[in-house]
């Protein structure tokens, strides 16, 4: 039996997203689009208006008098345990005793329609005694106000090495958070079933966690809860732990009222209630030689976790494991701080701390170069990981198959970097109102969940007697094209056209105990699980085919919707029917776990990552030194996706990730007032990029002929998160433009996001030093 690529190549081909046309016609259904079941109730939340307070009373009597109101639930009404902590317990669904941020859910109303529910929520009277909040990240750092004790990555002896270094440079930047701004806000629809069962349609990246926590909230076994999700309108990490809050509220209200309950947050509530990307205060103390080569570095990465732990351990761990980015630190100590503030509990967001860690590395490289009057590009190249002796990460995993040096040469040539560097410098030398900036930044991103036990996946595959295939796996579709890619894998195994494979809604009833679809691992894990399931069935079918065609099993080939041996063949569907008659099972599960990985969380050592994905971006921008406005002019990207399963989907992830990163670093600004109220809670005040914010000249190339050295699914590489960080090149280019306003050796003072206001202030500071 051998596998030949099918004619209409199922893999390595730019197939359209399986729902593309349905998206465009409106036929694709999201939770809020589903026909509402009979008696369906709608939800509004009652949330805290205090950043920190002790609750003294909740009076729902006026709300309950309103016609059409069916229930108002508080912590006391939760049948099971009031806890939705994703990693550590102690995170109530509805506040108990204290409220810890403005927006903290205190109660939830179910009513016949949304308008009534909202009116009722406004009538619930909550009283509390205010406590002193901690709102500011710096304040939390100074007071050592943490949700968890600090975490440290250590290699070598950074203290003495720092003391011996020819140059010692200290620096810091603030990097802001980011709202996910998935276009579809959080939603869940809970339907009570027979006995104590509950079916929950949940917009979640982590159906198993919703199942687990809904069971805990309702006080039932996990087998009484089924969680299903066909698709989400974007998620980006925001529907990993946070989806549980919405599903939990819907499920509790459904249990209490005995009726179906929909909980869909409007945009403002979504942004006020749910967690975001962690903002970080990044500080470093680095020793370098005259060439800008790092000798030793100590860094502190202080994360704003918000009021609770949520997924912060993973986020900070990934920040620490990416604070090297592409650079070798001979002696290194990295400290992660889990700062507690009375704000939304920050959570997973594309890159999961990696981008913030990388910002520390890149801001530091920029500072080293400018301080020593060296070319930032050269400083980066000199500090790249190298052969043995210069290949050990701060977590003691050797960097293998490091592709960046060659990729750098390639992108410098293709982007005409040298000539453009000269042109930019010449433009700036004229000293006009407009200045340009140009910068190159690399990305090296570790692929696998930092927690080895999460790197597992299951799939369930059925072949029907007409040869059509039903595919199910634990991964969720949020727009990233996972369902398409996994279907391609199955099509390739069976030699079928892609349209013979039907991806089906993710449900805990079909594939149990799954990991979240996160950490860019969706295809790596679920693609492999599906492949294993498909190969199991194919193997059984090959036995039947061999007998039917009178051939050796080893001669049986599955291709072009046929099964052949020598010059005889049978259509795939007919073979499926033959298998059924021969009483051969056409259904199989598949299970995959990532090999090679291990990590000791007490010492922060090991091999957490199966492999690395690489990318490089060259960005050119212009700024207006009178207003701080800026404009992207051109970006060239070269990104490593291994042997791409689907170049169109991968390119989409690269472009979309880059633009989302650009938003994070330039315009998306979360502003809280002095009372801890988030003032930017809707698109009128929170600005994500529009089409005009994307460089008109955007050139994206996938690294050619670059199969993954590790045995991933068809030698592809993960692509969800790594490209996000390519946008750091834009932020660096803005710094480059600002630097042109100051004297040589001036290090721009520019935090992120680099809004026009921050750019103008940095320009002013640069001019003032001149």
């Amino acid at each position: 039996m051998k596998l030949t690529p099918p004619a209409r190549s199922a893999v390595h081909h730019p197939h359209a997203h399986d729902s593309a046309l349905k998206h465009a016609t409106g036929a694709a259904r999201y939770i809020d689009d589903m026909a509402e079941p009979r008696g369906c109730l709608h939800t509004a939340l009652v949330t805290s208006r205090w950043a920190h307070a002790r609750l003294t009373g909740i009076d729902a009597s006026r709300a309950l008098e309103l016609p059409g109101v069916h229930a108002v639930v508080t912590a006391a009404d939760i049948p099971g345990e009031n806890d939705v902590g994703a990693i550590v317990p102690g995170e109530p669904l509805l506040a108990e005793g204290v409220v810890e941020y403005v927006g903290h859910p205190v109660a939830a109303v179910a009513a016949r329609d949304l308008e009534t529910a909202r009116r009722a929520a406004a009538l619930v009277e909550v009283t509390a005694e205010p406590l002193t909040p901690v709102l500011d990240l710096r304040e939390a750092v100074e007071k050592a106000h943490y949700v968890l004790p600090p975490s440290e990555f250590l290699r070598g002896k950074p203290g003495p090495a720092l003391a011996d270094a020819p140059h010692r440079i200290r620096g810091e930047i603030m990097v802001g958070g980011q709202d996910h701004f998935y276009l579809e806000t959080q939603a869940a629809l809970a339907l009570p079933q027979e006995d104590q069962d509950m079916l929950v349609h949940s917009g979640t990246q982590h159906p198993t966690e919703v199942q687990h926590l809904v069971a805990r909230l309702l006080g039932v076994d996990m087998n009484a809860v089924t969680v299903e999700v066909r698709r989400m309108g974007g998620a980006f990490g925001g529907k990993e732990s946070q989806a549980t809050i919405i599903a939990g509220i819907a499920a509790v209200l459904a249990r209490v009222t005995g009726r179906p309950v929909k909980c869909r947050l409007d945009r403002d509530t979504d942004m006020m209630v749910t967690g975001k990307r962690h903002d970080f205060l990044l500080t470093w103390d680095v020793g370098v030689d005259d060439d800008g080569r790092v000798q030793a570095v100590e860094m502190t990465l202080a994360a704003r976790c918000g009021w609770s732990v949520d997924l912060s351990p993973g986020v900070v761990s990934r920040a620490l494991s990416h604070a090297d980015n592409a650079y070798f630190y001979p002696h290194v100590k990295l400290t992660g701080l889990f700062c507690k503030t009375n704000t939304q509990s920050n959570t997973a967001f594309r890159g999961f701390g990696g981008p913030q860690g990388m910002m520390a590395a890149e801001a530091m490289m920029d500072q080293i170069a400018r301080t020593l009057n060296l070319d930032p590009l050269e400083v980066r190249r000199r500090n790249f990981y190298g052969p043995e002796g210069r290949n050990l990460t701060p977590y003691h995993q050797p960097v293998e198959h490091f592709r960046l040096p060659e990729m750098l040469d390639e992108v410098l040539a293709s982007s005409d970097y040298a000539a453009r560097r000269k042109a930019v410098d010449a433009f700036n030398a004229k000293g006009g109102v407009l200045r340009k900036g140009l910068a190159v930044s690399p990305v090296k991103f570790g692929v696998s969940f930092n927690k080895p036990e999460m790197n597992q996946a299951g799939a369930l595959l059925h072949v029907y007697t007409d040869g059509s295939v039903s595919l199910n796996h634990g991964g969720t579709e949020m727009g990233q094209g996972l369902f398409t890619k996994v279907a391609q894998v199955v099509a390739a195994v069976f030699g079928l056209d892609l349209d013979r494979i039907r991806p089906t809604a993710t449900t805990t009833g079909k594939v149990p105990n799954t990991s979240p679809t996160a950490a860019s691992s969706g295809t790596d894990l679920n693609g492999m699980a599906a492949r294993i399931a498909a190969e199991t069935i194919r193997d059984r079918m090959a036995d039947v085919a061999a007998e039917h065609l009178g051939a050796e099993k080893s001669a049986v080939v599955f291709e072009r919707n046929m099964v052949r041996a020598g010059n005889k063949s049978v259509p795939f569907g007919e073979l499926a029917e033959l298998c059924h008659v021969a009483r051969v099972s056409l259904s199989s599960t598949g299970f995959y776990r990532t090999p090679k990985i291990h990590f000791d969380r007490t010492t922060n050592r090991g091999r957490p990552f199966f492999y690395f994905a690489h990318g490089l971006a060259v960005s050119e921008v212009a700024i207006d030194t009178l207003t701080g406005e800026w404009k992207p002019l051109r970006t060239d990207i070269l990104h490593d996706v291994g042997a791409s399963l689907n170049p169109a989907v991968d390119k989409g992830q690269i472009e979309g990730g880059f633009v989302q990163g650009l938003g994070w670093l330039t315009m998306e600004e979360l502003v809280w007032d002095k009372d801890g109220v988030l003032k930017t809670h809707a698109p009128s005040t929170y600005k994500i990029p529009t089409a005009r914010d994307v460089p008109r000249d955007l050139r994206v190339d996938l690294l050619a002929d670059a199969p993954n050295e590790e045995a991933t699914v068809f030698r592809s590489k993960a692509v969800g998160e790594p490209p996000f960080m390519l946008a750091i090149s834009v932020w660096l280019a803005l710094r480059d433009a600002v630097a042109s306003c100051g004297p040589a050796g001036h290090v721009p003072k520019l935090d992120a996001p680099a809004t026009p206001e921050r750019i103008l202030m940095a320009v002013q500071a640069a001019k003032d030093t001149a």
Binding site: T25, L183, R267, D624, P683, S684
Partner: protein
């Protein structure tokens, strides 16, 4: 007088008499099971709810004036006598997908797909626009957010879109709707009322009769009271059907814009009168907002961050008000706003028109909008300047700002510092100091007072560079 709402939904006439008048078209469509249009924000900022709204062209012309609008800001009774097309209805004969739909799928312009129907409808509107350059393609989707794709493939789909001729059956449908719309609407549901008069006299009479009713022109400000603050209007007086409140007349001395002419039309005329305004005008809201929102509404809102009052002040515009009892009066644009969101408008008055005199030859007009984002953002600082330099000296100066005080302001101290002075960097430096005295900005989520102060002053540098060194680019648009 009619009491049921009648409009065409995806080609078929529908009558509706069972919804509260403040129900949005988006909520109604979705309750009907037409769920292609999505709610992403309920405030007009994301475009996920975009639909096509067709208004029968005025007498003599056939068919519809089609515009992309945000269904989250349109009320059901507002579409009375009009045609609505959603992504479901876009497919020809309900079967084959529309070119905008196939192109979006083929160019890989959908990922999660939640924004997609909105983009499809924005593209459908673009497909009916004959003259198209790359900027207008950009403009057509500037009001639609996509969090997934990075827009490149969407732009590719937009650029590939063929021009679409009106379907043959549209003329007859428009005719039918024109007949429906000829009669004024008095729609009631419970204690709620929606009044849509068809003459200015009726409108003024109703204004007097129901002073508590909300005036509703485009609804792009009023709508937010419903969708964001969850207010329930006691009554709505809709001005969008009054012919006298719509239209533009130009004569040799200037331009008269009827108060509730949609931005899309009014701004074009303004930009023709004073080309220096073009850059700012393109940046008021986005296509969907400009198709609904009106100049009169922007003035009526009297927001300190509204974009049109600074240019109107700089151009010495006048605003005409009228009441049933006292007739007409005219106030200078600079005197219209009296305090934070307070105006000279009396409770029985309507704004009927804005008169903009033609700038004297040789006057340099500039309008600048400074915001965090280029498209669909509210100004952190807005500025509009009219400047005439005669024989090296400043002969006429009007400096107006938004976003730097509780009202739009005319910077009179700065104007004084400018008049009669040579137009030189030294004068600019002095004027910049004077501007700081004319304004009293605040800190908010869009920017600090310090930033606003710096920018308000620096924009005079920009004005100087643009007038004194016209060859050197001083604005990012030039790159």
């Amino acid at each position: 007088m009619r009491d049921a709402i009648r409009f065409a939904l995806n080609g078929a006439i529908r009558a509706v008499d069972d919804v509260p008048p403040h129900m949005t078209l988006l909520n109604w469509l979705r309750a009907e099971g037409l769920t292609a249009a999505k709610e992403g924000c309920a405030e007009g900022d994301c475009g996920a709810c975009t639909v096509l709204l067709g208004t029968p062209l005025p007498d003599g012309a056939e068919g519809f004036d089609w515009r992309a609008v945000n269904a989250c800001l349109v009320l059901v009774p507002q579409v009375d006598g009009r045609a609505v097309v959603t992504a479901e209805g876009l497919a020809k004969g309900g079967s084959a997908p529309h070119a905008a739909q196939t192109l979006m799928a083929e160019t890989h312009a959908t990922q999660c797909g939640y924004c997609t129907p909105g983009f499809v409808m924005a593209l459908a509107a673009l497909g009916r626009t004959p003259a198209r350059d790359d900027e207008s393609v950009m403009d057509s989707i500037a009001g639609n957010l996509c969090r997934c794709t990075g827009y490149r493939p969407i732009l590719e789909a937009a650029r590939a879109l063929p021009l679409e001729a009106p379907a043959p059956e549209e003329a007859a449908l428009a005719e039918k709707l024109r007949e429906i719309a000829a009669a004024p609407l008095d729609y009631r549901a419970g204690s709620h009322r929606f009044l849509a008069p068809t003459t200015l006299d009726d409108a003024l009479r109703l204004r007097q009769q129901f002073p508590e009713a909300w005036l509703w022109a485009g609804g792009t400000d009023q709508g937010l009271r419903v969708t964001k603050q969850f207010q329930v209007p006691p009554g709505i007086l809709y001005l969008g059907r009054v012919p006298d409140l719509r239209g533009i007349t130009e004569d040799k001395d200037g331009l008269t814009i009827a108060a509730n002419t949609p931005y899309a039309d009014a701004l074009e005329a303004l930009a023709a009168l004073a080309p220096g305004l073009d850059g700012m005008i393109r940046r008021i809201g986005a296509a969907q907002v400009r198709n609904l929102g009106t100049l009169g509404g922007n003035i009526g809102t009297a927001s300190p961050i509204g974009d049109t009052l600074p240019p109107l002040i700089a151009l010495d515009a006048e605003i005409t008000l009228v009441s049933a009892e006292r007739g007409r009066r005219t106030v200078a644009a600079r005197d219209f706003v009296t305090g934070y969101r307070k105006t000279v408008l009396d409770p029985d008055e309507l704004i009927v028109a804005i008169r903009i005199p033609r700038p004297a030859p040789g006057t340099h007009i500039a309008a600048y909008k400074i915001a965090k984002r280029v498209d669909q953002d509210i100004s952190t600082v807005a500025a509009a300047f009219a400047l005439k330099v005669q024989d090296g000296r400043v002969d006429h100066a009007r400096l107006a700002y938004g976003g730097v005080a509780a009202t739009p302001v005319r910077a009179e101290k700065a104007e004084k510092a400018l008049l009669g002075q040579p137009w030189t960097p030294e004068t600019v430096a002095a004027v910049k100091r004077a501007v700081a005295e004319d304004i009293s900005p605040m800190d908010d989520a869009r920017g600090t007072a310090a930033y606003r102060t710096a920018v308000a002053a620096n924009l005079l540098d920009r004005l100087w560079h643009e007038t004194a060194e016209p060859g050197t680019p001083a604005r990012l648009e030039a790159l």
